[in-house]
C-alpha cells in the first residue's frame, strides 16, 4: 500500500463520515419536527374528540332541554376554537327541532280545532233543540229536566269553544250588543256553580256586539276558576268599576288564592303567551288563562289576577276599554203611565167603539191593544202644541229613536258577522 492510496482512502472515508454526520443531523432534525408535529396533531385530535364528546353529551342535550322550554342554560364550547363550527351545528339542530315542533303543534291544533268545531256545532244544535222544547212544553217537571240539560249543554259548549279558540278559531257566535249585566249573566249560564255568583245590575253600559262573545267566554273562565277554587258555600262576587277610559269587571272569590309560582304562570298566559304551545298546558290541561290571554290579545281587553280579593281569595279584573263599550238601547220605550192605575178592573170601556177598525195593508182588521182608559183617551186626542202634549211627543221621539237605533244596528250587524264566519 503506498502512501498515496492510503491518503485517498482516508479522504474518502472522511468525506463519507462527514456526509453521514450531516445526514444524521438533518435526519434528526426532521425526526424531531415530525415528532413535534405528531404530538401537535395528537393534541388537536384529542381536543377535537373532547369537544365532540362535550357537544354530544352536554351541549346538544342542554339545547334540546331548553328548546322544550325548560330553564336550562346551554354550556359554551370547552375550546373557543370550535365555537364557530359547533355553533353552526347547534343552530341547525335548534332550527330543525323548532320546525318539527311547530309542524307537530300545527297539525295537533288543526286536528283539535276541527274536532272541537264538530262538538261545538253539535252543542249549538242541541241548544236550539232544547230551546224549542222549552218553548213547546208548559210543564214544570219537563222544564226542570230541560233546565238541567240546558245547563250541562252550555258548559259543554263553553269547553268546546274555549279549546277551539286556543287552537286559533274565532269564538263564533254573533251577538247583538248586550248590557254588562247580561254579559256576566251569560257567562254565569255556562259554568257549573252558577247559583253562587252574585251580579249587580248595571243597566246603562253595554258591550259592543263584536266583543260580547269573547268577553262572555273570558268572564266565564274567571267565574269558573273562582267557583272551583273556593268552598261550595261561599259566593263569587262580581262588581263593576267605572274607570277613566273603560270599565272594570271584578270577580272576587273567597278561595285559597294563588301561590307566587301560579301567579307568574297566570300572568304569562294572560299576556297571550299560551297560544303558541297547547302541549304545555299540563295534565289535566288548564286552558282557562290561556284562552283568556288569546281572547284579550285579539279583542283588546286586559285581564289580571294578581290582586287579592277582600274575601281572601283572588280578585280577577277584566278591563274593557271604551272602544268595546256602548250605551244600552232600551228594549222598549216605556209608556210611563202618569199614575199607575190602582183599580185593576179598568180595561172594560176601551173595547166600545169597534166600528172604525184599523186595517192591515192586506185588508185584515187590526186588533187594538187594550190600555187603561185614562191613558188611551189622553194620548191620541191631545194636539201637538198643547201643554198636555209633552209626554206624547217624548214617546214619538223615543219611537223614532228606537227605529233609528234598529236601522243602525241592522246595518252594523252584517260586516261584523262576516268577520266571525270564515274562521268560526
Amino acid at each position: 500500500m503506498d502512501q498515496q492510496t492510503l491518503a485517498v482512502a482516508f479522504w474518502f472515508a472522511l468525506a463519507a463520515v462527514l456526509v453521514a454526520v450531516v445526514l444524521l443531523v438533518r435526519q434528526r432534525r426532521i425526526t424531531a419536527d415530525l415528532r413535534e408535529q405528531a404530538t401537535g396533531a395528537q393534541a388537536v385530535t384529542d381536543a377535537w374528540a373532547a369537544e365532540e364528546a362535550h357537544l354530544v353529551n352536554a351541549r346538544i342535550p342542554a339545547l334540546a332541554e331548553s328548546l322544550s322550554n325548560r330553564p336550562v342554560e346551554v354550556p359554551g364550547p370547552v375550546n373557543p376554537r370550535f365555537a364557530q363550527s359547533h355553533g353552526r351545528v347547534l343552530d341547525l339542530f335548534a332550527d330543525s327541532v323548532q320546525q318539527a315542533t311547530a309542524r307537530g303543534e300545527q297539525s295537533a291544533k288543526a286536528t283539535l280545532k276541527s274536532m272541537m268545531r264538530a262538538v261545538q256545532s253539535l252543542a249549538n244544535e242541541q241548544q236550539v233543540a232544547i230551546s224549542a222544547m222549552q218553548e213547546r212544553h208548559d210543564d214544570a217537571d219537563v222544564l226542570q229536566g230541560l233546565l238541567r240539560i240546558d245547563h250541562m249543554n252550555s258548559q259543554l259548549g263553553r269547553r268546546a269553544q274555549a279549546t277551539a279558540v286556543l287552537c286559533g278559531s274565532w269564538p263564533g257566535q254573533q251577538r247583538s250588543a248586550s248590557s254588562l249585566t247580561d254579559v256576566v249573566r251569560g257567562a254565569t249560564s255556562r259554568i257549573r256553580d252558577y247559583l253562587r255568583v252574585n251580579i249587580p245590575i248595571e243597566a246603562d253600559i253595554a258591550v259592543t256586539s263584536r266583543a260580547v262573545e269573547p268577553v262572555v267566554l273570558a268572564v266565564a273562565e274567571l267565574l269558573d276558576n273562582g267557583a272551583r277554587h273556593s268552598q261550595p258555600n261561599t259566593a263569587v262576587e262580581v262588581n263593576f268599576q267605572q274607570a277613566h277610559n273603560g270599565i272594570a269587571i271584578m270577580v272576587d272569590d273567597a278561595g285559597v288564592g294563588m301561590t307566587a309560582e301560579e301567579l307568574g304562570r297566570a300572568a304569562r298566559l294572560l299576556a297571550g303567551d299560551g297560544a303558541s304551545d297547547i302541549s304545555r298546558l299540563g295534565d289535566p290541561p288548564q286552558v282557562g288563562f290561556a284562552v283568556i290571554g288569546v281572547l284579550a290579545a285579539r279583542y283588546g281587553f286586559r285581564v289580571s289576577v294578581d290582586t287579592r280579593s277582600p274575601y281572601g281569595g283572588v280578585r280577577a279584573v277584566v278591563f274593557l276599554p271604551t272602544e268595546l263599550l256602548t250605551r244600552v238601547d232600551k228594549p222598549l220605550p216605556t209608556p210611563a203611565a202618569p199614575a199607575p192605575t190602582p183599580v185593576p178592573a179598568a180595561p172594560a170601556p176601551a173595547a166600545a167603539p169597534e166600528a172604525e177598525q184599523k186595517r192591515t195593508p192586506g185588508g185584515l182588521p187590526k186588533r187594538k191593544r187594550r190600555e187603561p182608559a185614562g191613558e188611551q183617551a189622553a194620548a191620541p186626542s191631545a194636539p201637538p202644541g198643547s201643554p198636555g202634549a209633552a209626554r206624547p211627543s217624548e214617546q214619538i221621539a223615543a219611537g223614532l229613536g228606537a227605529w233609528q237605533r234598529g236601522t243602525r244596528s241592522g246595518r252594523t250587524a252584517s260586516p261584523t258577522a262576516a268577520e266571525g264566519n270564515p274562521q268560526a
Binding site: 248586550s178 247580561d182 251569560g186 252558577y194 222598549l332 178592573a345 179598568a346 172594560a348 190600555e371
Partner: protein, 117 residues
C-alpha cells in the same frame, strides 16, 4: 217571533229562574191577565224589570208577556209567581166579558183570511 228568537239567548233560562222550574203558585194560565201594582223595581233581575215595564203599560196576558220577553211560558210563570209573591203584580183569572173581541171582528178576520188564501 221577535228577531231575538233567532239568536240563541245569551242568558239561559236556568240563570233567569235561578235553577227553579216550579212556580211558587199554580194560579198562572196562558190567558191569565197580569197588572203591575208597584212602581219601584229595585232589587229585581233584568227580566223581572222588563216584565214590570211591560205590565206598567196596561194589563197583559201571560202569553203576551212571554212573547215580549222572548222567554218560554213556563219560565215566565216562575218569574210571575215570584213577582206576585213580592207584591209587584196582581192577576185576573180571565178578562171581563165586555173585553172579549166581538164576533163581528172574528168573522171579519176569518173572511179576510179566506179571501186571501
Amino acid at each position: 217571533m221577535t228577531p231575538h228568537r233567532r239568536e240563541r239567548a245569551l242568558v239561559r233560562p236556568h240563570v233567569v229562574t235561578g235553577g227553579r222550574a216550579h212556580p211558587t203558585r199554580n194560579t198562572f194560565d196562558v190567558v191569565t191577565v197580569v197588572v203591575a201594582t208597584r212602581a219601584s223595581f229595585s232589587g229585581l233581575t233584568p227580566e223581572k224589570r222588563r216584565l214590570m215595564e211591560l205590565c206598567r203599560g196596561g194589563p197583559l196576558s201571560v202569553a203576551e208577556i212571554a212573547a215580549h220577553l222572548s222567554l218560554p211560558i213556563s219560565v215566565t210563570k216562575v218569574l210571575l209567581s215570584d213577582l206576585f209573591d213580592s207584591g209587584h203584580i196582581s192577576t185576573h183569572a180571565a178578562l171581563p166579558r165586555t173585553a172579549h173581541p166581538d164576533l163581528q171582528l172574528l168573522k171579519d178576520v176569518l173572511d179576510g183570511l179566506r179571501a186571501r188564501l
